[in-house]
Structure formats: structure tokens, C-alpha cells
């Protein structure tokens, strides 16, 4: 298993995602002799996981079953332990595209936070790229290092515990892209600029507040960045469902014409105590949705 490479069979030391049902999953570290409790019963790692194929069904002790999935950065994002507010897949996808990340890219990121974006970046830049990530909180930096090790991606990432606004990323002139998710990104623009290759590169800053965006755009302009662009993106989910809408009673049919109208209705009619109903296959929005995560500001550093 690896977050940057697929494998077929579950092995000891793998991190797997147990799928329990709709919107219910949990990450599990596979260890010989260990057990995991779920609402469907116990999963014994040695017999139920190790040697099984990813994607297979596992029957738990109480008789219920779960699926065991191969980890991906997307699954990790919705299952990881939160140490900070994290970035979700919708924003991550756009950041990846707009920063032009691909295998071999060298990326600088700050702050590391809970590692949600970090895992996605690592997957995209593997096997030949590198991620330099900076986190000013000592314990979070430590936890990130540990997680990257457990997920077998340490060779692709360097974690530095420092303040990016004061000390930069620890490297200069080698990055294709820089990402900032910090309270005062305008204070890090100088360091971001020097981290980027002299032939140019991309930068992205994520900020929840518009005032932060304004100060960041000003700083980008002052430092000679071009193509400055701010946008926001939100995901809308459509709940697919089958609904049955009753038709009202218009009284007994008088002539042949009105019976024609009745038979023109959709063929999916269900007789229901005298009145007909129409079955519709449709999708509705959820009652509430995420209305704001943050503004994404992108820019290009031109060639020196």
C-alpha cells in the first residue's frame, strides 16, 4: 500500500479505509494480531485483512460486513484526524490544476496543518517531485512527519518547523509552485518569490477573509507577480432519489377526451386507493450546503 501507488493485496503495516456504509468510514493501521471494533462486530487483522484483496467484503464477528478500501488522498481527507481546519477535495482539485502540479513538480507549502493538501500534492508529484512543507507549530510538525512515515511517502517530503513569514521555506530557487494557507500570507510573499525557480512558477494563497485577500493581492502586485486571479469554488451535491407525487382528483371522467389526458401521464403510474401517482427519478439539493471555505488567489511569477 502507498498513498502514491496502488497495490492489490493488504499487507501488515498498511493503512486501510474501512467502509461501514453511507458517509461512514474509518482509517485503520493493519497489524498482525490486532483487532478493530466496529458496530458490525470485530475485525481480526490477521485473518480478515492481511492477504485479502483491497475492495473485498469483510464479515465481522456480529455477522455484519464492511468493505476494505485502498487509501487515497481523497479518502484520507474525509477520514484524517483534524488538528486544524482542513482543505477539502473541491478546493484541493482546483489548487492542483491552477498550480499546474504534475509528476516531478517541486512544491512549497505552508502551513502543513493536518496534512490534507499535503497528501494530495504528494500523490500528484510522485515519483520524481518533492514537497517542502513548513509548519510553525512544533507538535503538528512532528505529527506530520510521523504520518508521512506511516504512509510511506517520507522520501517525497521535507517538513520544517519554522515560521515561513520570518524564515521562508528553507530552500530558494527550486520550486515550481508555492501554496500559502496562513493567517498573514502577504508577509510571506517575499520568501515565496525567492523559493520559486528563476524561470518562473505559480503561487496560490487560500484565505477565508476578503481583507486578507486584498492585502495579499496588493503584495503580489508589488512583488511583480502577474495574472493575479481570485476565485472561489463550491461543490453542490445532488441527492438522487425516487419521489412519488400524487395526482389530484378532478372528478369522474365525463367523456373520452379526458380519459386520453389521464393516459398521457407518465407510464410509471401507481394506483393508490383510487388516485394515481407519478414516480419521478430526480435529484434534490441537500437542505444545507457549505457556503464558503475560502478565497483562492492565484498568480504567476514571471521569469527573472
Amino acid at each position: 500500500m502507498s498513498f502514491v501507488e496502488y497495490s492489490e493485496i493488504i499487507q501488515e503495516g498498511d493503512v486501510v479505509i474501512i467502509f461501514l456504509g453511507h458517509e461512514s468510514m474509518m482509517p485503520v493501521m493493519v497489524q498482525s494480531g490486532a483487532q478493530t471494533q466496529t458496530r458490525y462486530g470485530v475485525i481480526r487483522h490477521s485473518s480478515d485483512l492481511i492477504g485479502q484483496r483491497f475492495g473485498s467484503k469483510v464479515t465481522c464477528s456480529k455477522g455484519g460486513w464492511v468493505y476494505v478500501l485502498h487509501p487515497t488522498p481523497e479518502l484520507w481527507t474525509v477520514n484524517l484526524p483534524h488538528r486544524t481546519q482542513i482543505l477539502y477535495t473541491t478546493d484541493i482539485a482546483n489548487i492542483t490544476l491552477m498550480l499546474e502540479l504534475k509528476p516531478g513538480s517541486v512544491v512549497c507549502e505552508s502551513g502543513t496543518g493536518s496534512g490534507s493538501l499535503s497528501h494530495s500534492i504528494l500523490r500528484t508529484i510522485a515519483p520524481t517531485g518533492h514537497l517542502h512543507t513548513v509548519e510553525f507549530h512544533a507538535q503538528r510538525a512532528e505529527k506530520a512527519i510521523q504520518e508521512f512515515k506511516e504512509h510511506k511517502v517520507s522520501h517525497l517530503v521535507t517538513v520544517r518547523n519554522q515560521d515561513v513569514c520570518k524564515d521562508g521555506f528553507g530552500i530558494t530557487g527550486i520550486a515550481d509552485a508555492v501554496f500559502l494557507d496562513i493567517p498573514s500570507p502577504w508577509e510571506a510573499i517575499t520568501h515565496a518569490k525567492s523559493a520559486i525557480k528563476c524561470k518562473g512558477g505559480r503561487i496560490c494563497s487560500f484565505s477565508p477573509c476578503i481583507e486578507q485577500v486584498q492585502r495579499t493581492c496588493e503584495a503580489l502586485l508589488d512583488h511583480g507577480f502577474e495574472e493575479i486571479c481570485t476565485l472561489e469554488v463550491l461543490l453542490r451535491v445532488h441527492d438522487v432519489r425516487t419521489v412519488t407525487l400524487p395526482s389530484p382528483d378532478f372528478g369522474p371522467e365525463e367523456d373520452s377526451r379526458s380519459s386520453q389526458v389521464a393516459s398521457d401521464l407518465s407510464q410509471d403510474e401507481v394506483p393508490n386507493s383510487g388516485n394515481t401517482s407519478v414516480i419521478c427519478r430526480t435529484a434534490t439539493p441537500p437542505r444545507e450546503m457549505a457556503g464558503h471555505t475560502g478565497y483562492l488567489t492565484f498568480a504567476t511569477k514571471p521569469r527573472d
Binding site: 502514491v4 501507488e5 496502488y6 492489490e8 467502509f19 461501514l20 453511507h22 484483496r53 483491497f54 475492495g55 473485498s56 467484503k57 460486513w65 468493505y67 478500501l69 485502498h70 488522498p73 481523497e74 477535495t89 482539485a93 482546483n94 492542483t96 490544476l97 491552477m98 499546474e100 504534475k102 509528476p103 494530495s120 500523490r123 510522485a126 515519483p127 520524481t128 528563476c198 524561470k199 486584498q214 493581492c217 496588493e218 493575479i228 486571479c229 476565485l231 472561489e232 469554488v233 463550491l234 461543490l235 453542490r236 451535491v237 445532488h238 441527492d239 438522487v240 432519489r241 425516487t242 412519488t244 414516480i279 427519478r281 430526480t282 435529484a283 478565497y295 514571471p302 521569469r303 527573472d304
Partner: protein, 471 residues
């Protein structure tokens, strides 16, 4: 920095035959750099020859005659600052008479060789209302005039970002109106990464295929499934991938999928012929026929007339050419057969790592068919311009099983203008970017999905409907 200018990285310099992206403001165009070929972009004609040898990202001016000239280093600070400005627009009357320069005057200035910046300055000087505008209005005016009269273009290296924005802005119909943020979701939700084996079925001019290949970085393999005659690759070529990327790209015709699934796919030479043009066999036969016929024709000739050495030479030459063509055709057939065989070999294992569908075809049959080639615990993403076909796919997958975490989504995108005291969303916004159905495969089992989520129907009725649909 000196080291930057001497960038010996070959990839950084523009060469003939390179695919590049021209940029002027927010408008992009993908072209191939060719010798002395006229390029049209943003109502201007020019040649790209002077760009060869320059670095990607360089800015150029278009000179009279269509040649490109390197743009001098950017002047910091706007020399077009005006000292005077008004407070608001209460006295400004828009009657169209405030600009004293006529169109002909401007043309004359252009012919005199005036630079764009100078023309803009002329326009400002000859505008009666400029001094009365507010500072913001003056900035907006200058920006607008600059956009029209300063004709700088940049030449950039292609990327998914640039090409996706270009296609969406210029020819959305060619890509089924796939907006770039939706494409971003496809690539991320599909976990497209180096080393995997991805199936792609698209009719988006090759843009989706190219973006998948970019994320694979030349590692792993991509199998393009195609309907009809042959795979569309134009958009993919615009990425300008190095040649070794093409070795990871395979193609397989949909019309042979059923045979492959049934195990009856014939990979012998005969089969490859018929796949090509429907009359491959006939052609090779006819070639033999014509050479036989020509032999027959030449015999009576040589009998009737005394052998003319020149005529004989021409006949031998024609024979040689015919044979050469037949040989070339044979080689091509063999290549095609080999390609088909290699693609079939990759598919046969039914262990692909991902599936991306983005086409004008109804997605349901394509999805249900191609999912059979995907390993368990792998993501798949289906794009459709419309919602209803994806609802059908969702419903079918629920009935059939074998897929979890099904999600039907679309994304909402908004750009912002960020300026001091003038920050607000941009006035025009994209109405929609298409829909996505994503999910993860699991071991194919007859089990009804545990995740049959809540329906608003009362329990008894729901059970009835389940019985109907599973019948």
C-alpha cells in the same frame, strides 16, 4: 539573474514544431510553431519565427509586417498617471463627443509607428472628460484602452490549466461544455497519478485525455477507448508531450469490447485488416489482382509490339511502386494489429486503476460496460453536460451493486475583482460547468448496497418499490 538568461534547459526554449499557447490578456490560443506560417490571433496577423530560440514566457510586440519583437523590460510605475481627477460623475455627460481623435486619426498614429502606450496617452490628452473622471474611472479607462491598443502577446508552454481555459472560452462545444474546475475535479477524484493504468473514454477533442496524461507524467499507461473510426487526439497533441509519453498511450475500439469480454477477440492478421477500413481484405486481394492483371496486360503487349526498353523500364517501375505500397500497407496493418493486441492485453486482466468518461454519448451503457475492466477499490468519474443521464447511471449502479460512495455533484465557480475599495465578484459568471458522477468500485457481489440511503417515503411503500425494481 544571469544564470536565468543562460537557461540551457532545452525545454525552456521555443523550437520549431513546438506546441505553444499564445496569450493576450485573458485570451489564449494553441498553435504549433512552423516556419514562416502566418498565425491569426486576436485580430492580428504575425509570424512566430522570431520567437524560435527565445524562452517560454517571453513577451513580444507585433511589428508592422507581422514579425515579433522582444518586448523591452517592463516599465515600473505607470507613466500614464494623471494629476487631476474628479470626485464623482454628476457633471459628466456621455454624448459620445468627448474623444476628439477620430478613428482615422488613430489609424494615422498607428501608421506613424506610435507604440500602444503612446496612443493611449494621446487618447487621454484628447479626451475632454478624462480630467473630470474619478481616479477609479480613470484607471478603468486606461486599462480598457491599454487592452485595445497594447498588443503584447506572451508565448507560453502548454498546460492543462491553459488549454482547459482556452477550450472553455473559445470552443466549449468541442469539449461538451466541460468547465476547467470540473476537469480539475475529474483529475483529483479519479486519483490520476503516475504509475497507474487508466481507462479514458472522451469526446472532448482530446483535452481530457491530454490532462490525464499530464498527471501521469509518462509513467503507467492510458488506454483510450474510442467509438467509430479512430481516437481523437488533436487536443492531446496541443500539450506538446515528449515522445516517450506517447508510448504509454494505447487505444481500443469500443466495437470490439464485447468480443474482448467474451474472450472471442481475434487478434490474427485477418481480423486487424477488417478493423481498419472494412475492406482491408478486399484491398490486399485487389492489389494482387491488379498486379496479376497488369502482368496479363503486359504479356500481350510484349507479344504484339517489340519490347520497347523505355516502356519496359516504366512497367518495372510501376511494379516496384505497387509492391512497395503493398509492403507498406502490410507493415501498417501489422503495427495496428500489434497495438490492438497490446491494448487488449492491458484490458484483459480487468485490473485497471481508474475510469474517466466525458463524452456526448449517453454515459450509462459506456459506464456499465467499462466498469468491468476496473479493479476493486478504484475510483471512477463520469462527466455529463446534463444531469438526467447521470441520475440513470446512479440508479443502475445502485441496483447492480459493485460501487460505493456514489456522488452526483456539480461545482459553482465565481471570480473576484480585487482592487482597493473596489473589491467585488466579477459581473459575469459561468452558469454551469457540467455534472459529475463519482464513486469507488468494490468486489462485485450480489449484495444490495448497505448504503441505500434514506428515502422520504414511509417504510412500507419503500419496500414495495424495492421489490418492483429488483424484479
Amino acid at each position: 539573474m544571469a544564470e536565468c538568461e543562460n537557461d540551457s534547459d532545452v525545454e525552456s526554449r521555443i523550437s520549431y514544431r513546438d506546441y505553444v499557447v499564445l496569450k493576450r490578456g485573458d485570451v489564449f490560443k494553441s498553435v504549433q510553431v512552423e516556419n514562416k506560417k502566418k498565425v491569426v490571433f486576436e485580430k492580428q496577423w504575425f509570424f512566430l519565427d522570431n520567437a524560435v530560440g527565445q524562452l517560454f514566457g517571453t513577451r513580444f510586440e507585433i511589428e508592422a509586417g507581422g514579425s515579433l519583437k522582444l518586448k523591452a523590460a517592463k516599465h515600473s510605475g505607470d507613466s500614464l498617471d494623471s494629476k487631476e481627477a474628479g470626485q464623482d460623475n454628476r457633471h459628466i455627460v456621455d454624448d459620445g463627443s468627448s474623444q476628439k481623435l477620430t478613428r482615422d486619426d488613430i489609424e494615422t498614429l498607428k501608421e506613424q509607428g506610435l507604440k500602444g502606450q503612446e496612443i493611449v496617452q494621446q487618447l487621454i490628452d484628447n479626451s475632454t472628460t478624462f480630467k473630470g473622471k474619478t481616479e477609479f474611472a480613470q484607471e478603468k479607462y486606461i486599462k480598457k484602452k491599454k487592452k485595445k491598443y497594447e498588443s503584447d502577446i506572451s508565448i507560453l508552454k502548454p498546460s492543462t490549466r491553459l488549454l482547459a481555459m482556452m477550450y472553455h472560452g473559445r470552443e466549449p462545444g468541442k469539449i461538451c461544455h466541460l468547465r476547467y474546475d470540473t476537469l480539475a475535479q475529474i483529475l483529483t477524484l479519479g486519483n490520476i497519478h503516475a504509475g497507474s493504468k487508466i481507462l479514458v473514454f472522451e469526446t472532448c477533442a482530446g483535452l481530457v485525455l491530454g490532462s490525464v496524461m499530464e498527471r501521469m507524467g509518462g509513467f503507467g499507461s492510458v488506454i483510450q477507448m474510442y467509438p467509430g473510426g479512430g481516437p481523437t487526439r488533436a487536443g492531446m497533441e496541443s500539450f506538446g508531450f515528449p515522445s516517450h509519453f506517447h508510448e504509454t498511450l494505447h487505444e481500443f475500439p469500443l466495437c470490439k469490447v464485447n468480443a474482448l469480454l467474451a474472450g472471442t477477440l481475434d487478434l490474427s492478421e485477418k481480423d486487424a485488416d477488417s478493423e481498419v477500413s472494412g475492406s482491408g481484405n478486399g484491398q490486399s486481394e485487389s492489389t494482387q489482382e491488379t498486379s496479376a492483371v497488369s502482368e496479363k496486360n503486359s504479356e500481350p503487349q510484349s507479344m504484339e509490339v517489340s519490347i520497347d526498353p523505355q516502356e519496359e523500364m516504366r512497367r518495372v517501375e510501376r511494379e516496384r511502386l505497387r509492391e512497395k505500397k503493398a509492403q507498406e500497407k502490410k507493415v501498417k496493418m501489422e503495427e495496428k494489429r500489434k497495438k490492438l493486441a497490446s491494448a487488449a492485453a492491458l484490458l484483459e486482466g480487468r485490473n485497471a486503476d481508474g475510469l474517466v468518461i466525458a463524452s456526448r454519448f449517453h454515459p450509462c451503457p459506456v459506464l456499465m460496460c467499462l466498469l468491468k475492466f476496473i479493479a476493486p477499490s478504484r475510483p471512477f468519474v463520469v462527466y455529463c453536460q446534463y444531469r438526467e443521464p447521470l441520475i440513470e447511471c446512479y440508479t443502475k449502479l445502485r441496483e447492480q451493486g459493485g460501487a460505493i460512495s456514489l456522488r452526483l455533484t456539480d461545482s459553482w465557480l465565481r471570480h473576484y475583482q480585487v482592487l482597493p475599495n473596489r473589491t467585488h465578484p466579477v459581473l459575469l459568471m459561468s452558469g454551469g460547468g457540467g455534472y459529475l458522477l463519482s464513486g469507488t468500485t468494490v468486489a462485485a457481489d450480489a449484495a444490495k448496497a448497505r448504503n441505500q440511503h434514506k428515502s422520504e417515503e414511509p417504510v412500507a411503500k419503500r419496500l414495495k418499490l424495492d421489490e418492483i425494481s429488483s424484479a
